[in-house]
């Protein structure tokens, strides 16, 4: 097999990925039509997978940018794999836009803060009545339950009419304005940042920048392969530097916006890094699995256990870092014991105790204990098992961050949730493998290719 070999994207691959997608969609549709999954649950799961798979792809851009800037010679042989993973980015971006746009357009109710009624201190009788009528059903799922800050909750214990009359009686002033019993001071305080227009603007900015830079890095790399000119390498450097700056800001902000603001009363200052590293470990695991798959099928003969050893060190090290962040977040909240903060963990401990523990156990102990030895990081079978587990359990990590905040009450992972993830995986793999087949798997004109071939650790 020569070094210019392209990946052969056979009809078997296509068929398998389409089957994966179809099976997933069937599970999703079954869930929707049997009523197993209501609208809120469907949207919430869409958000889990949109964030997770977009993240896998965005972190592939980060992989390329970081190694490019660091002049990391060793990665030249494997860079086609993350490059191919970036091809899913625009699809993921559309999914994110659909979900977030769905909230802004009031098609779903994921982001509680997007309800502007909650931040009006005074409302008219008519507005209040209209609001209560609209929210007569499913009011339950809207309020946060633990933080104790909720006028909405006290109110919902009484019959709607009683409270309205009481407020009207005591407060009804000149202009017919009354105190809004649903007024949420915390949301009002955050409304300069958490409002529909600014939220959507930010979301669009991150996604456009990621997709654009990801596309540029891929395009330059292909140009470099076709023309053999070094100028494309220089251009890649410029855009890689731009991406790292963009990413430094947008990685944290996307986590606040898309995930943390689902619980607008709660906050954690390291949430952005936590999300970033969770996705980073998962994305590196995908890179490892794809390389091992390609190698097992006879591609990339020059990529060897030295390169996988380095990738194995990454998932070992960043899993420990992930744990550090997990623990820092948990310990401070546990120690402080402030209801506003503990609410987030209580909700997860109460309904998802097993997954909550499994998330920490698998994402920390498995890579830590299994990958500690040098031999383990150089063994393809061990890496395959660990990387697969990490992908699944970092998905679970996102499930645990998003679902309890949106679908209140227990929502165990069933066929519906798995189906949705499989459908996404099908599209992700189809797009990635298709991109792999476009250009030689070995970037022959990369200035570092020889260094990468001789890489030895």
């Amino acid at each position: 097999m020569s070094s210019t070999t392209k990946f052969d994207f056979t009809s078997t691959h296509k068929r398998n990925f389409i089957i994966l997608f179809v099976i997933g969609m069937m599970a999703v549709l079954t869930g929707v039509f049997t009523g197993q999954a209501d609208a809120q649950k469907t949207w919430a799961n869409l958000l889990v997978n949109a964030v997770f798979f977009t993240g896998l792809s965005a972190l592939a851009v980060f992989f390329l940018a970081a190694h490019q800037i660091a002049f990391a010679g060793w990665h030249a042989l494997v860079k086609r794999v993350p490059e191919a993973m970036t091809s899913f980015l625009w699809i993921g971006a559309i999914c994110i836009l659909v979900v977030t746009g769905g909230t802004i357009g009031n098609y779903n109710n994921l982001y509680h803060w997007s309800d502007t009624f909650l931040i009006k201190e005074k409302v008219t009788m008519a507005e209040l009545e209209a609001y209560e009528k609209e929210h007569a059903h499913g009011h339950e799922m809207e309020g946060d339950h633990e933080s104790g800050e909720h006028h909405g909750e006290e109110h919902s214990m009484l019959s709607n009419g009683t409270v309205v009359l009481a407020s009207a009686g005591s407060e009804g002033g000149e202009s017919g304005m009354i105190d809004n019993p649903y007024y949420d001071e915390i949301l009002d305080g955050k409304s300069a940042y958490l409002n529909d227009a600014f939220f959507m603007t930010r979301t669009i900015i991150y996604l456009v920048l990621w997709v654009f830079i990801g596309y540029q890095l891929r395009r330059f790399s292909i140009k470099e392969e076709e023309t053999g000119e070094k100028m494309w390498f220089q251009k890649t450097r410029t855009w890689a530097a731009v991406f790292l700056v963009v990413w430094a800001v947008s990685s944290s902000m996307m986590a606040w916006d898309w995930v943390m603001s689902l619980d607008p009363h709660w906050y954690s200052t390291l949430f952005g890094w936590y999300n970033f590293i969770s996705l980073w470990v998962a994305s590196l695991s995908v890179v490892i699995l794809l390389i091992i798959y390609l190698k097992r099928n006879g591609y990339m003969p020059q990529t060897n256990e030295n390169h996988l050893h380095d990738l194995g060190k990454y998932i070992f090290g960043f899993s420990v870092f992930w744990t550090y962040l997990w623990f820092s977040q948990f310990m401070l909240i546990w120690y402080g014991n402030i209801p506003e903060e503990t609410a987030w963990f209580l909700e997860r401990k109460r309904e998802y105790n097993f997954l909550f523990g499994a998330n920490l156990a698998v994402n920390f102990l498995v890579p830590f204990l299994v990958l500690m030895r040098r031999d383990a990081k150089r063994n393809f079978t061990v890496l395959t098992v660990v990387a697969s587990l990490l992908i699944v359990f970092h998905w679970v990590d996102f499930y645990l961050m998003i679902i309890p905040s949106t679908v209140h009450g227990a929502a165990p992972i069933g066929y519906f949730e798995i189906g949705m993830a499989l459908a996404f995986a099908g599209v992700f793999l189809y797009s990635t493998f298709r991109a792999l087949s476009k250009v030689s798997l070995v970037p022959q004109h990369n200035p570092f290719i020889q260094e990468s071939i001789e890489h030895h650790i």
Binding site: M331, Y335, R373, H456
Partner: protein, 176 residues
């Protein structure tokens, strides 16, 4: 006076040295030591050295640190002198993790450093013989242990192998 001696060849190029190590070993000679002014990739494999056990020692030191910390805090906080801090249970694992982590790192780091020094016979006051000062800057040495009883024929064989594999100089030195 144990009569220990060393016969060594000097090389002026790392690639020649690497091939020479393979060549000399293929001819059946047992190399005692190879000295280089900087790390040479692939030398360990070429010399057939086994992987260092320093990592395993590090793991054991670390595990000792973990157990020491957890055991000691548990004993203090639940048996010896239980104090109620902010309504937390006496056995408050999350609060102990930072200390446990620190002690794990401390034990592993100090333990591995001492093990390393011991394995390399490094300590203040210990004098190490340098075969030739040039191996600290630009030359590479491949040495063979011999003693006063080693026959001249054997020495000649080693010299021949060294020469054939590109040694630029060959010397003999007493180790005592």
């Amino acid at each position: 006076m144990s009569g220990k001696k060393v016969l060594f060849g000097l090389f002026d190029d790392e690639h020649v040295l690497l091939d020479a190590v393979k060549g000399v070993r293929a001819e059946g000679f047992k190399i005692t030591e190879v000295m280089t002014p900087f790390p040479v990739h692939g030398l360990d494999e070429a010399m057939g050295l086994r992987m260092t056990k320093l990592h395993s020692a590090g793991f054991l030191f670390g595990a000792t640190g973990t157990l020491t910390a957890l055991g000691f805090i548990t004993w203090i906080s639940t048996v010896n002198y239980p104090i109620n801090y902010g309504g937390k249970p006496y056995f408050s694992l999350p609060a102990w993790i930072p200390i446990t982590f620190e002690l794990t790192v401390l034990f592993a780091a100090v333990g591995m450093t001492l093990t390393y020094l011991y394995l390399n016979r490094l300590a203040p006051g210990i004098k190490h013989r340098i075969l030739d000062e040039r191996i600290t800057s630009h030359m590479f040495a491949m040495s063979f242990e011999i003693d006063a009883d080693t026959s001249d024929a054997r020495k000649a064989e080693i010299r021949k192998a060294l020469e054939a594999n590109g040694a630029v100089e060959i010397h003999e030195q007493d180790l005592d």
